[in-house]
C-alpha cells in the first residue's frame, strides 16, 4: 500500500476519523492532519519547490478537505481523496502562476517532442566526495523536476515518490490508465534527457 499511512495497530482508522469529522468533530480532523501533513507538504513542496508557498498550499488542501468532508462518501481511501484535493489546489496555484507569466514549465504540449525539445540541466563538475556527489545529484534532480510541466511532475511524484499504482494515479488526477502511462513515459524521457550527463557517465 504505497501512499497510505495506514494507522498502526490501536490507532483509529481513517474511515472512523472521517465519520467523526462528518459529525462535526474537529479534533478527529486534527488527527487526520497529523497523520498526513508530512505527505501533503512533501507533495506540495516537490511540486512548487518553495517552502512557504508549499506550507500555505498544504494547509489550503486540508481546509478544502474539511469543507468537502460532508460530501466524501468513503468510496475511496481517505488519502487518495485528500491527495486529489491537494493535486487540485497545487494545480490551480501553478495555473495562476503560469497566467502571471512566471511559467518555468513549457512542455505542456510537447508530449511527442521529447528528445528534440528537452533541455539538459547544466552539467556540473563531479565532486570528489560521495556526500557532495549525492547533494549535487539531489540538486540536479530538483532542478529537472522543476522544469517539468505540472501534469508530468504530478505523475512522476505520485508514482516514484508516493509509489502509487496506475489505478490510484488515474483516480487522483483523474484520467485514463493510458494517459497515466503516456505521461509517465514522457515525464521520464524528459528527466532522462535533462539528466543524461549524470547517467551516461555513470553507465
Amino acid at each position: 500500500m504505497p501512499a497510505s499511512t495506514a494507522p498502526e495497530s490501536g490507532e483509529v482508522s481513517d474511515s472512523d476519523l472521517v465519520k467523526r469529522c462528518q459529525a462535526g468533530d474537529t479534533r478527529a480532523f486534527d488527527v487526520l492532519v497529523n497523520r498526513y501533513r508530512g505527505k501533503v507538504y512533501a507533495m506540495t513542496y516537490h511540486m512548487i519547490q518553495n517552502e512557504t508557498e508549499a506550507w500555505d498550499l498544504a494547509q489550503e488542501a486540508f481546509i478544502k478537505a474539511w469543507r468537502a468532508m460532508p460530501n466524501f462518501k468513503l468510496d475511496s481511501a481517505f488519502y487518495t481523496w485528500l491527495y486529489r484535493i491537494t493535486h487540485n489546489v497545487t494545480y490551480d496555484w501553478l495555473r495562476k502562476k503560469k497566467i502571471q507569466g512566471d511559467g518555468e514549465f513549457d512542455d505542456s504540449h510537447t508530449d511527442h517532442r521529447v528528445a528534440a525539445g528537452a533541455e539538459a540541466v547544466a552539467r556540473h563538475e563531479p565532486a570528489p566526495d560521495t556526500a557532495l556527489k549525492n547533494a549535487e545529484l539531489g540538486a540536479r534532480i530538483h532542478e529537472a523536476i522543476a522544469k517539468l510541466s505540472p501534469d508530468h511532475k504530478q505523475v512522476i511524484l505520485l508514482r516514484e515518490v508516493e509509489g502509487m499504482a496506475y489505478e490510484e494515479i488515474a483516480e487522483i488526477i483523474p484520467c485514463t490508465l493510458g494517459t497515466v502511462m503516456s505521461r509517465l513515459f514522457y515525464a521520464r524521457k524528459k528527466l532522462q534527457e535533462m539528466l543524461k550527463d549524470t547517467y551516461e557517465n555513470a553507465l
Partner: protein, 169 residues
Amino acid sequence: MKLASTLALWILTLGCVKAQQPVAPPVESLPAVKPATDGKVWGALVYATNDIKGLTGSTEVAPIDFADIPGRLGMVFPFQRFEILGQHLQDVFREYESWVVPTKDLFLKVDSKGPADGGGMNLHLQFWRDQQVLVKTDAVLKEGSPLFIGGPKWREGQLLFVLVLQKSR
C-alpha cells in the same frame, strides 16, 4: 503591454548605467484589456519621529480621502510627526498579484481572496523589505478601517506602512 514593460526595463537599464540621466522619459502605454479588479487600495510609507530636525523634507501629502491618516497614526504610535515618504494608489487585481510600492525600500504584495462578508476585501498580504519578506498575513480590509504596520526603526523614529481600502465610488 509587453512592449511597454520591455521598453520600461530597457529604459531602467539605461538609467542605471547612465547616472547623468536620472529621470526616465514618459512612456506611452499600449492599449490593453484591463484585468478584473476587486477594489483599490492606497498604500503609504510614513516616517514617524519626534525629531523635527530629522525630517526628510518630503513634500508628499495624503489624498483628501485619507488626509486624517497622519492624525490617526498619532493615536497609535508614540510620535509627534508623521511624514509621508511615498504613496501609491493601486488596483487590486482579481486574478493576479498586485504590488503597492510607495518606496523602493518597503513595499507590499497584495493578493485578493475575494470580497469579504459585509463589504471589504479578503487579502493575503506580504510585507517586503528589499528581497526579504518581513511578514505574511491574511486580513480583511474594510473601508474606513486602515491597516497600520509598524515597521523597522529608522534614524530617530520608525517607518510605518499604511494600507487603506478606497471607498467604492
